[in-house]
């Protein structure tokens, strides 16, 4: 939802702190997830993730979430899917070239990053090309499995 998405960016600091705690909790529960089986969890967790992140960030379920590197402004809402910064067409009022009624997600990202510790630095990391096979998959489960070293 657009209004909630704007709210999330305004509260990027708190959102990011909560997200870190949430991630730590998910990682701590890895033995439980493994017991149930990650494959079996994939669909229900992805559904919950879609609901929660869809509401808060207008998440597009790219499956490789980088919200904490983009000031809690989801870059997949950019009509050009830009994950590395704004294009050159941003309007003088900070709105999108393609969808003039929408604030540029990167103008939002830069503002949000300023509210996150090391947020500005995180903006500088070059994001590699998206793996389109992960579309619709749970990013949460993927992160947990990466953290515990189950996958790369």
């Amino acid at each position: 939802m657009y209004a909630l998405r704007q709210w999330s960016v305004r509260h990027a600091g708190g959102m990011n702190a909560f997200y870190r705690g949430f991630e730590a909790a998910l990682v701590a529960l890895h033995p439980l997830w493994r017991l149930i089986g990650y494959e079996r969890l994939e669909r229900p967790v992805a559904a919950i993730e879609r609901g929660v992140k869809g509401l808060l960030f207008d998440c597009r379920m790219c499956g490789q979430c980088i919200l904490s590197s983009t000031g809690m402004s989801c870059p997949m809402n950019c009509p050009k899917n830009l994950r590395n910064g704004p294009c050159g067409g941003v309007r003088a009022n900070g709105h999108c070239e393609v969808r003039p009624e929408m604030r540029c997600v990167w103008v939002q990202a830069v503002a949000g990053a300023a509210r996150i510790p090391d947020g500005a630095q995180a903006l500088q990391s070059v994001q590699v090309a998206v793996d389109r096979r992960l579309q619709g998959k749970s990013s949460w489960l993927r992160v947990v499995r990466q953290r515990v070293g189950e996958t790369r």
Partner: protein, 339 residues
């Protein structure tokens, strides 16, 4: 100008240490000359002569010619084909690649193909949205973005493999460029975005049209503070405005173009607005050439390409240098035909 190790003018040059391409454009930049590039308006036709005729108007005044890739999301002859034609006769094109129309499979293939045809410079762009052009019903691809495109091109060149990891037997020898718009929001972050592009592989930058020199100065100051001045060659985008009405139209309809009111006023007050527009362009070129870190200008004279020679001549930025063009040295050209 002829390079001392130029066997046949117009042919690829030996690659010097520290250079990544056999192109004349990289030579000019690294030799510290003030470089001039321009943009060829690609024809809506399949006639090669349409391309050659459009290139000839720049003869003797530009170091490289950008071949646009469906700019403004409008359909024209492809940048790949324009480049193929230009390299046939020895011009130094900059092949623009936009992420809008092609996925990573097509783009990587194009980079190899372009390099094989003698293209030495590639400009990596995101591209305009399809809504801006004459085919708004088309599928926007955007599989890569300009940053991952730069990284992809650099991987092909320096690591000799595709994104998949599959080996390339002969890597493309190219100079990589990117665009930057110091005049668009979020203006405070634009220099940092440039830093990111340099980190991703950009060796030269062509900026959006500059009509606000103080704003450019502020941007260049930030670029210097980030320690980027010796890492990238920056060419400032300039271009003549035809009239106040045209300027007004551009600033309201072309996303990302910033034209201050003072510029419009200057055109309104002029007896001959087109001449005033050219003079304004010359004034801006002369102002930006003295800014630290500016290595050249990129003249975008859309539908006024015939004015580029006059603008560059009167600005005096070439300092008597005459960039090579096919037919400049009749004797050498005969050798070329024979070899």
């Amino acid at each position: 100008m002829i390079f001392e190790d130029e066997p046949v003018p117009g042919y690829p040059l030996p690659i010097r240490p520290g250079h990544t391409s056999p192109g004349r454009f990289e030579r000019v930049l690294r030799a510290g000359h003030f470089a001039v590039t321009t943009e060829l308006d690609p024809p809506d036709s399949a006639d090669p002569e349409d391309v050659f005729r459009r290139a000839r108007v720049f003869d003797g005044y530009v170091d490289a010619i950008n071949a646009t890739d469906g700019s403004g999301a409008n359909c024209h002859m492809s940048s790949m084909a324009v480049c193929a034609l230009l390299t046939r006769v020895g011009y130094a094109p900059v092949m623009q690649i936009s992420c809008r129309d092609k996925n990573r499979i097509a783009i990587q293939g194009d980079i190899l193909g372009a390099a094989a045809m003698g293209v030495c410079n590639v400009l990596c762009l995101t591209g305009d949205g399809v809504q801006a052009g004459d085919h708004p019903q088309a599928l926007p691809v955007f599989d890569l973005d300009c940053m991952s495109l730069l990284e992809t091109a650099r991987t092909l060149r320096d690591e000799h493999h595709f994104l998949s990891g599959r080996k390339i037997t002969y890597a493309p020898r190219i100079l990589l460029g990117a665009a930057e718009n110091p005049f668009a929001q979020p203006t405070k972050w634009r220099a940092e975005r440039l830093a990111k592009k340099v980190a991703a592989g950009a060796q030269f930058i062509q900026t959006q049209w500059c009509y606000d020199v103080p704003m450019l100065r502020a941007f260049m100051q930030q670029v210097e503070e980030l320690g980027l001045l010796d890492k990238v060659f920056i060419l400032v985008g300039v271009g003549p405005l035809r009239s106040a009405k045209a300027a007004e139209w551009i600033r309201t309809h072309v996303p990302g173009v910033h034209i201050p009111d003072a510029v419009i006023k200057r055109l309104v007050g002029a007896a001959d607005p087109a001449a005033e527009g050219r003079q304004l362009c010359i004034d801006i070129i002369q102002e930006v050439r003295s800014i630290k870190g500016v290595h050249g200008v990129h003249v975008m004279a859309y539908r006024q390409e015939h004015t580029v020679a006059e603008i560059i001549e009167r600005s005096g930025v070439l300092n008597g240098r005459k960039p090579w063009y096919p037919g400049r040295d009749p004797q050498a050209n005969t050798n070329r035909m024979a070899s």
